[in-house]
């Protein structure tokens, strides 16, 4: 048990772990993304109310789901970094922040594109959209705070505190749909009970959500590897690994 924790704190081990996992995860991600988007965009039935414009759901919903989950990943890494001072958690948090922000931006932009034909407006001040916007600012705040510190280990601790404070906001994002009911439809995927979306539309959506999770994992690992390589650019183990000796 202790050896595993010790290994997770060791940069060479993590670097090699990234090297080993990425070649597996990358093809899975690409296949899942391709299958999911072709299935969703071409073969899933047309919605009787929204026509084909609903198909952006296959990008919008997975991006939004992963954007939220990404904040949890960051907060968890922050907690590990604060409590056990594991250096790797700092790197993971640092690597996840810009990617999570990008997912949030994708969810917001696709939401705006979807909103135009459906609601007749690019932007509607609805609770869930606003919460996503706040989530975006929370991500940007973490990135900005990290950049502001000269001392990077202090920066990581500051960001850890900030993400943990920010998680207070996450339940509010989820609850906001119930609190301020408005134009946005209530969540339509339910794992318990009957879901409001037809299975023929649901399965490609679930596949796309899975694919986006994989994409998140791959990009975070790539980012972490790059971060590790930069932080240890003078280390001998890195030179050995890169030169393949």
């Amino acid at each position: 048990m202790w050896r595993i924790i010790h290994q997770f704190g060791s940069p060479p081990w993590v670097y090699r772990f990234c090297d080993k996992v990425i070649p597996w995860l990358m093809p899975i991600t690409i296949v899942a993304l391709l299958v999911g988007s072709v299935w969703g965009l071409l073969f899933a039935p047309t919605d009787y109310k929204q026509g084909d414009s609903y198909r952006i759901i296959y990008i919008h919903v997975p991006a939004a789901v992963v954007a939220l989950a990404g904040y949890y990943v960051m907060a968890l890494a922050g907690l590990v970094s604060l409590v056990w001072r594991v250096k790797l958690a700092d790197t993971a948090m640092r690597a996840a922040a810009p990617i999570g922000a990008a997912y949030t931006a994708i969810a917001l932009i696709t939401g705006a594109i979807w909103g135009k034909p459906t609601w007749g407006a690019w932007w509607v001040w609805d609770a869930r959209i606003t919460s996503m916007l706040i989530l975006f600012f929370l991500y940007v705040g973490v990135i900005a705070l990290f950049e502001a510190y000269e001392n990077k280990s202090a920066a990581a601790r500051a960001c850890a505190v900030l993400t943990l404070v920010g998680t207070v906001n996450i339940p509010i994002i989820y609850k906001s749909v119930d609190w301020w009911y408005s134009l946005h439809q209530p969540a339509s995927i339910k794992f318990t009970g009957e879901s409001a979306i037809d299975p023929s539309m649901l399965y490609p959506l679930l596949l796309m959500i899975g694919a986006f999770y994989c994409l998140f994992a791959v990009t975070v690992l790539l980012n972490m590897r790059a971060e590790l390589a930069w932080n240890h650019r003078d280390a001998s183990w890195l030179k050995q690994l890169v030169q393949g000796t």
């Binding site: 604060l82 606003t130 706040i134 600012f137 929370l138 940007v140 705040g141 900005a144 705070l145 502001a148 510190y149 001392n151 202090a154 601790r157 500051a158 505190v161 900030l162 943990l164 404070v165 920010g166 207070v168 906001n169 509010i172 301020w180």
Partner: protein
């Protein structure tokens, strides 16, 4: 031996609060400037929106709350700066009292000089914006609790950014997103009161925010101060 060394926490908090209040009395501009800012920005709105009283009273809850939020941000920007510069923040961190408790007296003093004062004079500003006098109790109550939560949250951001160059703008970026629920609950309470509804739900939410904030925020503030002092 230990008894003589033990510090009475209540005594410590009282003397710290008095110290911070004394500092504010000696430089009254730090207390008065946020209030003047509040008044000035409120004056800007009728100038920008037009003097129609009905339209103004419709917008008044939002205006009052947004401006209260901004003036609170100004107070948070100054919160730990002087104490970091003259070293008293370091002394505070080394005191035998837990840091999460030791930072509270300063917050109490700041709140007395900003939140409490602003809430008490807010009905005057409300009248200027055409709010009826009947909603004044709700306005005061919501601002009393709202400013307390904002100060607690703002202090977390202030503790994290106090050691950073040009931390002020960064503080706004970090903290304003977290103020959103307070803004929503506060304006909701006022709007309910204006439309003859029941403002107690929103007020209760604000009260819950104060309680939760008092429990959790000091821990985060203490962690932030330690990061800034690089302890």
């Amino acid at each position: 031996m230990t008894e003589a060394r033990d510090i009475d926490i209540l005594h410590f908090c009282r003397s710290q609060t008095l110290r911070h209040l004394m500092l504010m009395v000696r430089s009254p501009s730090e207390v008065i400037n946020p209030l003047l800012f509040f008044l000035l920005v409120i004056v800007l709105f009728p100038l920008g929106l037009g003097p129609d009283p009905e339209q103004l009273s419709l917008l008044a809850p939002g205006i009052l709350w947004v401006v209260a939020l901004l003036s609170n941000l100004m107070i948070c920007m100054r919160l730990f700066v002087d104490d970091l510069e003259d070293g008293s923040l370091e002394q505070l961190a080394m005191a035998r009292v837990p840091l999460s408790i030791a930072v509270l007296p300063q917050l109490l003093a700041s709140w007395l000089a900003s939140g409490l004062l602003l809430s008490l004079v807010s009905p005057i500003f409300g009248l200027m914006l055409g709010l009826p006098l009947e909603v004044a109790p709700v306005l005061v109550a919501s601002l009393l609790m709202g400013t307390a939560i904002m100060l607690l949250l703002g202090a977390v951001g202030a503790a994290l950014t106090v050691g950073v160059q040009r931390g002020g703008i960064l503080l706004a970026l970090l903290i304003l997103p977290l103020y959103v629920p307070i803004l929503i609950a506060g304006t909701r309470a006022l709007n309910e009161a204006l439309q003859g509804g029941d403002p107690t739900v929103a007020l209760a939410l604000l009260g819950a925010g104060v309680t939760g904030g008092l429990l959790l925020a000091p821990l985060a503030i203490a962690a932030g101060v330690r990061v800034s002092l690089e302890l």
